[in-house]
Amino acid sequence: MSLNQKKFHLIAILILMTFFVKGIFLTTILPMFKGQDESRHYNTIQFLNEPKEKTWEIKDGFSDNMQDKRDLSTYRFSEEIKDTAWKTETHRLRYNKKDTITFTNSFNGKNEMELKENSLPAVNKSYPVDVVNGSLYHKIGSLVEKSLENKNIFVKFYSIRILSLILVTISLYFAYLTLKTIGLSRKNTLIILALTTFQPALSLYATNINYDSLLILSFSIFIYGGVLYLKQGINKKNSTLLVLSTILGILTKGTGIVLVFILMGIIFFETFKKAKKYSKKISYSIIILLISILILTFSTYTKHLPVSEKGLPEIIISLDEYALDTINLRSFAQTSETYWGIINLENKITDNLKYILVFIDFLSFIGILIYFFVDKNQIVQYLPKKKYTLFFVIMVFALQAGVRLAGWKYFDQTGDVGLGAPGRYFLPTLVPHLCLIYIGIGTILSVLKIERALKYLLIISLLLLFYLSFDSILNTIIYRYYLL
């Protein structure tokens, strides 16, 4: 059945709306401070809003080991956050999967009215304050917080969660533009967009107070700028998108540096391509300037790596130990699990899915290799051109490299893999990743002369993610926090 333009746009709008509404529902069912590092990010936002002159009593000398991990009211957070955390009984939910908070027989919590009417001030008294390095996300969040300063903490907190959701919904719009630009059919564009919408981890993290939501947006804009550049050549529109999204990424989170390197790569490529048009003097000057910027950027970045004060043998040993601990099937399965949002309850259907997903990734990888080496006439028309595929591969691997290098640094300092590589770190390249799976599997099916099966596989994947998405909402989150 053909899909006309009007219908295509209407379904795309429906998909974006679904993501937003699902996000609002998830925002609601996830209790306060249960998002990833949410209390710390929210404290950062409140800290930015504090007056510069501290007129209240400050107690210094606190440290992490003076805190009870289960009890946020013992953390170095604002008085309002500590008081709310205690009165909303978050201590019954932290590091504990067997209890809920104490519910009342009404629509208001036990201490809700007290928190609404007599909240403590949103100022930090325990120093050093526990905050994240303030980023653009926190500054935007602090504007929302400021505009609602007369409202209770529930209005402020959940409004900032919705801000995160809006940022990720916008990023989904850019994903839609990207999919349209790389030449996918209308149907496949919509299915991949819907797969992104039903990917449970993206929806869940989109509702957290966390700078990852702005990072996802910056990557999404960058990817769109990148494919536009590949389609049209350099022009005002795509260069603006690329530069602005890179700046946005850097101002948001350390991982944003990945975009700088890719942008530099694009500039290099473009300069070499156009070098013939300029006089030798100018082109050499540009190249020297670019190399200097690259060296400067790289040397700045190496300060954050465990290579600056080490000799080569020590670097190799350290890297080898890190690789042994992190590059194995178990570690990949763990990353895959948190990337796809499978929450590890004893659910027979989802329990082994992480291994299936790693296998699909592996199969796609083989497919991509075939895709790059077979004659282009043998590849069916519905797969995007190689230049887009190569760009997606670079995006995915660059982010992988960035995250792994940061992980290696942590391992080198502590001897512990720490958080490892949680799947959420890779969500900024979710859409290129889905496209690569599509291309990889599409190539294999194409080689096997059963390319018609691809559209059915896409729809079956959609059904699977639909199931996982609702399973995580109903049978995991609602069950865990409200029905135990």
């Binding site: 999967k97 529930f154 907190f157 409004s159 004893e346 639909f466 069950y479 409200y482």
Partner: protein, 226 residues
């Protein structure tokens, strides 16, 4: 040759997914006495063929399950614990069944005793007998945690060995309402707590319906236009 009805099969797949999700969710509905935290205090052994007794008073109608916190229990590898619910005098049996696993059995050691709902349980005192029918040979002895928090005024006892504790078993009764409408209303109440005005009560119902309808609409339209 007649075309393979793939779209119908996909729609059937969607209906089956929704049925599984709904069945699972309805099976999870339970309103525990949420003030009770399952705590790990002293533990009480329950070797094979030994029976523990614990009394408790229900605080509302619709009693239908009791959760227990156990230290060692491996139902997968052959441990089996029979549960019986008696009246206050421990003489008239009301319900019986086996202890079963929950989502959190593996990590947290929470196990369930589920039975047919008792509609008029409010303020009534019941007596539970837990008998270890099988305890895997060479395995660890089944142990029930007790708690120092006195949610119930009765203490636990191993009637076979006579071992008594000054505390009661770490356990939590669960209830259901008379019908699904009341269950959903109570879920809505629980979710509404500590939420801003725009994410409370009717807003939750509206967002849930919008989410479900738009998700279903998306999947159906994509299958239809395949």
């Amino acid at each position: 040759m007649k075309k393979f009805p793939i779209k119908i099969i996909l729609i059937l797949g969607l209906i089956i997914s929704i049925s599984i999700l709904t069945k699972q969710f309805l099976g999870l509905i339970n309103f525990s006495q949420s003030e009770i935290a399952l705590e790990r205090g002293e533990n009480l052994k329950a070797q094979q063929n030994q029976t523990l007794i614990q009394k408790f008073t229900a605080n509302r109608d619709g009693l239908f399950q009791i959760q227990f916190l156990l230290k060692y229990c491996n139902l997968n590898k052959g441990d089996e614990i029979k549960m019986e619910l008696f009246d206050e005098s421990c003489s008239k049996k009301i319900r019986e069944g086996l202890l079963i696993k929950t989502h959190f059995s593996h990590n947290e050691g929470v196990y369930n005793f589920r039975f047919k709902q008792i509609p008029d349980s409010n303020n009534k005192t019941y007596c539970i007998k837990a008998t270890t029918l099988k305890n895997k040979e060479n395995g660890k002895i089944v142990r029930f945690y007790t708690t120092e928090n006195s949610y119930f005024k009765y203490t636990a006892e191993n009637t076979t060995t006579g071992e008594r504790t000054l505390t009661h078993l770490s356990m939590r009764p669960g209830y259901k309402n008379e019908n699904l409408y009341q269950d959903f209303k109570e879920i809505n109440q629980r979710i509404s707590q500590y939420k801003p005005w725009f994410l409370k009560h009717h807003a939750i119902t509206i967002f849930f319906l919008l989410m479900s309808l738009s998700s279903l609409g998306t999947v159906v339209l994509l299958i239809k236009n395949l």
